[in-house]
Amino acid sequence: MRKKLLTFILTLALWFVFAGHVSIQVFFLGTIISSFISLMMAENLFRLIQLKDGTKDFPKKTYDIFMVIIAFIYDVFLSAVKVSRHAFEIKPSFSPRIVRIKTSLKNSNSIATLASFITFTQGSLALDFDHINNQYVIHWIDVHSDDEEERKIARIRKHLNLIAKIVD
């Protein structure tokens, strides 16, 4: 019941946001649609959420979630600057490399979140995930030396630890 009520409130809030104004018509139509959604999809929605230790310690995790969002935006801009510099070079030069990184993450949610992070980290792109060996296949746009590769892998491990705190 709690799950259905929470889904109802969230979908109704989203409905009001997209409607752009609050009136009795919007409220009635939103109530009907939100109740349909909450009746049909509440169980499936909460099955997909796999927060570590459930939702009990959610307020405590707010700081970690905030850190993840900040790291995400910072990485997006940093990597965008590097790639855009390549785009405007007279002769764009690349030294691409495909590497495999083993991960300790187990949940499908955390694996997907880290894949998104890898796609936005500096010059890396998550090509594939090997479920048998728990490895990401990553394409680097510009790696000149093994040291640089190590540094970038260390950066990914940092993200891995952040995500493991929240989701895994």
Partner: protein, 111 residues
Amino acid sequence: MIDFILSIRQLFVFIFFITGIYFLLSTAVGLIRFPNLYTRLHAGSKCLMAGGISVFMGCIVLEGISFVSLKLIVIMIFLSITNPVTIHVIASFDNNYNLIPKTYTKEDFEK
């Protein structure tokens, strides 16, 4: 005082829009100039996302606190979820199945 706040707001809007335009332009240039599919996907993921965030942030600052800003925030969240997923799907299809037809680049013609 109100004029000063408005001008500061306008300044932030301009900074966000100019940054967004730069990144979106670099996405377009990168998609044309980069040599192969994977490097083009790099441009399509990172620069597009940074450009999108900048333009949306500019719009949010311009609009102030309203339902439109909330809508923009929701759209920004959707973009940040869908963009890496689509890029990963394209890369994964190319890596595993070779379903994506090869786009010929300058390097291919030189060979």
